[in-house]
């Protein structure tokens, strides 16, 4: 967020109190990518990620009168998404859905840019994203969530602990384990 721009909380209050749809559009623009990737990495399924993503925003719109500035807006938004992810994973009975093809297709579809039309560039980017996505996908769900909230949501350890309902030390342990795994994979990739 640049200096002088209204904060997320201000925009949300403006949307809640004054019905400023422009404020909501600004909020959506700020967080749509991070939340979508969070949902995508957590579900490993584009369809369910879109479902969770849409449900999270719709819950925010419909429950806007219950919004209170007790924490950062980002924490509030990711809390909604987190609860929805848990519901979806419980409903489906497993969190082991692979991101392989669907994720690659989705990413490829989102990379349609005129300057990036060269096949080797697109292929190399796709391979790197797939490799990182695979590393993340192999993480346990709790560690993956802690890592994604830290990377995509840019939440602090305390916020992650509050959001997931665990202690701060637990969050630190999960995050440390995820980072070690990512480091080891990336070192092995370089060596190979």
């Amino acid at each position: 967020m640049t200096d002088g721009a209204p904060s997320d909380e201000t925009l949300m209050l403006r949307y809640r109190d004054a019905g400023d749809a422009g404020a909501f559009a600004e909020l959506y623009e700020r967080h749509r990518g991070g939340l979508y990737r969070f949902c995508l990495r957590m579900c490993r399924d584009t369809g369910r990620a879109e479902e969770i993503f849409q449900d999270a925003w719709m819950n925010l719109i419909n429950a806007r009168d219950r919004y209170r500035v007790e924490a950062r807006f980002k924490t509030y938004l990711y809390q909604i998404a987190h609860n929805r992810v848990i519901d979806v994973l419980r409903r489906d009975g497993s969190g082991t859905v692979s991101l392989d093809d669907e994720a690659g297709a989705a990413i490829s579809a989102s990379l349609e840019a005129p300057v990036q039309d060269q096949p080797e560039i697109v292929m190399g980017r796709k391979q790197r994203v797939e490799r990182v996505a695979e590393v993340i996908d192999r993480l346990p769900a709790a560690q993956r969530e802690a890592f994604l909230l830290h990377e995509e949501g840019e939440l602090t350890l305390k916020e992650i602990a509050t959001l997931t309902g665990v202690g701060r030390e637990t969050v630190k342990s999960r995050l440390r384990y995820a980072l070690v795994r990512l480091r080891d994979e990336l070192v092995g990739e370089r060596q190979t």
């Binding site: 949307y15 109190d17 004054a18 019905g19 400023d20 749809a21 909501f24 559009a25 959506y28 749509r32 990518g33 979508y36 990737r37 995508l40 879109e50 993503f53 849409q54 925003w57 719709m58 719109i61 419909n62 806007r64 989705a106 990413i107 579809a109 989102s110 990379l111 840019a113 980017r125 790197r128 994203v129 990182v132 990377e151 030390e169 630190k172 342990s173 995050l175 440390r176 980072l179 070690v180 990512l182 480091r183 990336l186």
Partner: protein, 314 residues
């Protein structure tokens, strides 16, 4: 432990910074599809458009109408007050109307109704001034006032005799004689005087009853000389007309002696000592042989004919 974990996490974040940056830069293109954006933004607009009116526009319209109404009310009230005050100001600055007949009549001519009204107003004003400065009136005016306001600069039309001046000139009577009840007027005037002056009525009775005075002043050959009023007015320097007897005196005359004495005693006890004394004198004249009951409060007149009183001319 915690600090060590923090340091370890910081080191891991530094080691994976390049990889994470690459992940973020590469994954930055992972965005929700366009139809999701449209759906969510449309839902956000729909949710707020269901509200009645935006607060800012409603506020502008909300205070314009009350402000206009308040301005109209204030303006109307101000103009009304200004008009009222201007009317009062003109009324104050205007010269008071002077009626042509406001001056007191120089002669005893009959007063017109307008004069009577203006006289009433002046009398009311004079009453107020009298209340404020009661001691400023001269003694003579106070005496005149005590006899019933007969004489005054602006008498009432009903109080002004039509030929008062002529009557005074012809009969020699005074304004006191114009009173309808001379005895009552006399009593009031006597009451207004200091107590040490004594009873004028008693002195008159004394003069009448005295045998010597009877010889010096021959009695008037009037048939009503036996009446109380006629007797009081029978002196030469008094009114020769016979004022009507009071109702109470007439009633006393028609009663039996015991009742008359009782009434006289009541008058005495009520404070009308002059009237009681006069009535007792009259009673004794009518009933010279009647003996007063023992302990009768009203003193017997010195000149009253009584068997036990002996010679009265001492």
């Amino acid at each position: 432990m915690s600090e060590q974990t923090d340091r370890e996490i910081e080191a891991l974040l530094a080691q994976t910074r390049s990889a994470r940056a690459r992940l973020r830069s590469e994954a930055a293109h992972e965005l929700p599809p366009k139809h999701l954006d449209d759906t969510i933004l449309a839902a956000s607009r729909r949710a707020v458009s269901a509200r009645p009116v935006p607060a800012r526009k409603a506020g502008v319209r909300g205070w314009q109408v009350p402000l206009a109404a308040a301005a109209v009310i204030v303006l109307a009230t101000s103009v009304s007050l200004l008009m009222v005050r201007e009317g009062e100001h003109e009324r104050v600055l205007a010269p008071p109307p002077v009626p042509a007949d406001a001056s007191p009549p120089a002669t005893g001519q009959a007063a017109a109704p307008d004069t009577a009204r203006s006289g009433e107003a002046v009398n009311a004003l004079r009453d107020e001034m009298r209340k404020e400065t009661p001691r400023a009136l001269p003694q003579e005016d106070r005496e005149k006032k005590s006899v019933g306001q007969v004489v005054g600069p602006f008498p009432q039309a009903s109080q002004v005799p039509r030929s008062a001046g002529r009557n005074d000139a012809e009969t020699g009577t005074t304004a006191h004689d114009q009173a309808p009840a001379p005895a009552a007027a006399e009593a009031e005037r006597a009451a207004a005087r200091p107590a040490d002056e004594g009873s004028t009525v008693d002195s008159r009775i004394k003069t009448e009853r005295a045998p010597g005075s009877a010889a010096a002043v021959p009695p008037q050959p009037t048939p009503s000389a036996s009446g109380p009023a006629g007797r009081l007015s029978g002196a030469g320097n008094f009114n020769q007309r016979k004022p009507l007897p009071r109702e109470g005196a007439k009633a006393e005359l028609e009663q039996d002696p015991a009742s008359r004495l009782d009434l006289i005693r009541k008058r005495w006890e009520a404070g009308d000592r002059i009237g009681a004394a006069a009535a007792l004198a009259e009673f004794l004249e009518a009933h010279p042989d009647y003996e007063l009951p023992p302990g009768y409060p009203v003193p017997r007149p010195l000149l009253a004919p009584a068997k036990e009183s002996g010679p009265v001319n001492r």
